[in-house]
Amino acid sequence: MQVNDNNFQPVIVAFCCNWCSYAGADLSGTNRLNYPTNVKIIRVPCSCRVNPMFILRAFQKGADGVIICGCHPGDCHYTSGNYYTRRRITLLYSMLDFLGIERNRTRLEWVSAAEGAKFAATMQQFTEDVRKLGPNRRLEDLRCRKQ
């Protein structure tokens, strides 16, 4: 991957919940909607499964942005998982912000299984935001950098 300012292709890690967002991603695919190939989807049983460590680990291994997608509040397959996600991730993002990590590198978005278009639009927007920020330098592990 060429890393320079003109042609920077960010690596985006998207944690998608199995029941809504992953199906939403699937729907955007079957609808032939385009979203950037920068997005690497990791399927999780519930957005609540996303341990703060996963997010930091993604940054460690070279991600430039991390987005978490889950069912809309109230629609969680496990009743309340995404409510916990919301609190947890709010606090974590606030902490990352406090440590001076750029705000637009992290996002949480609710995408239902019927929102294929929203999934594609969200990913396009997020990729664009991260592209503007440039490579992740503040939270990267030099040992993991690929030359």
């Binding site: 709010t90 993002y93 440590l99 001076g100 705000r103």
Partner: protein, 323 residues
């Protein structure tokens, strides 16, 4: 105070209410009074100390001590009682096996601040009307008491004991100590300034794990940082990422449970202001989910294990303050 405490401890040992006492004993130097367990009246007479350097929180020792045979007497300062309450809530201590005597809190002194004044070879320290008379190898030095107090005592949140079986001395009040001032100051910096501040602070970290080991909220039998497969168990912080990750996760794991006792910063050999990370979480919780003081009671749910259907979205943290 020390005599009253020893006398009461001896009484309770003699009548069989308790079989052990946890308090503090004099260390090698005048300023390193450390937590210790005493089993006999003779040991108490010989070693027990309660002075201006007993800042250590003994609550965490009770996780193990309360599981041993017989009851233990614990002397808890107000800030320690919050930690103890939190441990009860988490079922980490057995309340029935601990007899708590509430003792007055600080301000306690920080020997590092005395040494920072260039005072070395300390033999003894006396507090006379809030002026410290410091006996050293090179003569007597003086300095104002309040210039040497512990960081955690500078922003004391409470002089009130939240749990005790009996009290020695008077119970105090919950204080308004503006403890979020520094956090606010940082929040008002730009992201680059914040990043530079934390880079400077966290890069001092030597990964000694003292902050984790002393924390009364960090009581897991197996810690995520000890997992050799985690890729972050390295003893030396080899990379800036590792320092960041360690401190973010350490603070996150105690978010909502941290009573803000300030032990992490006190024990840090590199003087990293770690309590600011915890306070940031406390401040966020207070602002976003309502005022919450961990350890103030033993029944309420920690905000991070609770929710309401109309909590704010994470985007609020991105919209406020300075980018």
């Amino acid at each position: 105070m020390q005599e009253t405490m020893i006398k009461r401890a001896k009484e309770l040992l003699a009548d069989g209410t308790v079989s052990r006492v946890i308090g503090w004993k004099k260390g090698e130097f005048a300023y390193d009074t450390t937590p210790a367990v005493f089993e006999t009246a003779e040991e108490l007479d010989r070693d027990f100390a309660f002075d201006d350097f007993t800042a250590a929180n003994v609550s965490k020792y009770l996780v193990k001590e309360s599981r041993k045979e017989g009851k233990i007497l614990a002397f808890l300062k107000p800030c320690d009682t919050y930690s103890f309450n939190q441990l009860i809530k988490e079922h980490r201590v057995i309340r029935e096996n601990v007899y708590i005597i509430g003792i007055p809190g600080g301000p306690k002194l920080d020997a590092e601040k005395i040494k920072a004044k260039g005072i070395t070879g300390i033999l003894g320290i006396k507090n006379e009307n809030y002026t410290l008379k410091i006996e050293t190898l090179y003569g007597t030095e003086t300095m104002p008491f309040y210039e040497a107090i512990c960081g955690k005592c500078e922003s004391c949140k409470s002089k009130k004991h939240v749990i005790y079986d009996e009290l020695i001395g008077e119970d105090g009040d919950i204080l308004d100590s503006n403890r979020f001032d520094t956090v606010e100051k940082l929040e008002n910096m730009t992201a680059q300034e914040r990043f530079d501040f934390w880079r400077e602070q966290l890069s001092k970290c030597i990964r000694c794990n003292a902050c984790r080991n002393v924390c009364p909220a960090c009581t897991c039998e197996k810690c995520v940082f000890d997992n050799p497969k985690s890729g972050i168990e390295n003893k030396a912080a080899s990379d800036s990422f590792e320092e960041n990750l360690f401190h973010i996760i350490r603070a996150f794991h105690v978010a909502g449970r941290c009573t803000d006792c300030g032990e992490c910063s006190r024990v840090c050999p590199q003087n990293i202001p770690l309590h600011l990370l915890n306070r940031k979480f406390i401040k966020d919780i207070n602002e976003l989910y309502g005022e919450y003081q961990a350890g103030a009671d033993t029944v309420s749910r920690s905000p991070i294990t609770d929710y309401t259907p109309d909590d704010c979205e994470p985007s609020v943290v991105h919209e406020r303050g300075v980018e």
